[in-house]
Amino acid sequence: MQQRPLSPHLQVWRWGPHMLVSILHRVTGDGMALVGLAVLVWWLGALASGPEAYGTFQAIMGSPLGLFVLVGLSWAFFTHLMSGMRHFVLDIGAGYELDVNRMWSIAAPVIGVVLTIAFWAAILIRRGGM
């Protein structure tokens, strides 16, 4: 196996937005699968276990580190949502023109960040914090 030639590998390509959005889709999806589902299971399990267990959940996820994880998960969700929408369009055979592909490769993660900010702004406004 070691002696066989390799096809041109990752590092020979110049990075473009379509490559970034592709790897972001995988990273955000796997991040949510590993961290997000653990938090979801803990959240639901703590609620079912009673006020004391939920208090522990709130104390840890409400700490600066916990909030950092929650904001990160929400960013991963909105980014994965937008790159996933891009995949739905590509799946029907549309959006492969170079300029259109490039435009949505940039727009998807940017809209993901905008939605993340809008979500937390809405949460804070509803809570009366701002």
Binding site: V41, G45, L47, A48, F77
Partner: protein, 128 residues
Amino acid sequence: MGSGTSIGRVRGLGSAHHGAHHWLAARFTAAGNVVLMAWLVVSFVMLGDFGYANLVKWLAQPIPATAMILLVISLFWHARLGLQVVIEDYIHDAGSKFALIAALNLATIGGGAFAIFSVASLALGGQA
């Protein structure tokens, strides 16, 4: 079916037509995730108060409990499909691949079952 070339032995036996199943299941669960996560995001914004009493009161109602259980199923299924592809892409040793996918199945089914049971116990009023 003769004893000729390898293509000759399989030609005409037909396709199982299951080749696209994994890919399609990822899309179907993705569509489920879009609908159900939209519900969760709107619910979080509407809730405002994330204290124990308010959340239990909310999640014990029929529609939130049903939506949360469906969300857990859709998310865990989608995550299982996605992580399987990552394992298949990066783990090339057949034994390790088998073991990781077996562990993935146990983790997703176990985690999903626990989450569904938690919602059901709240909805049916059987707190521990």
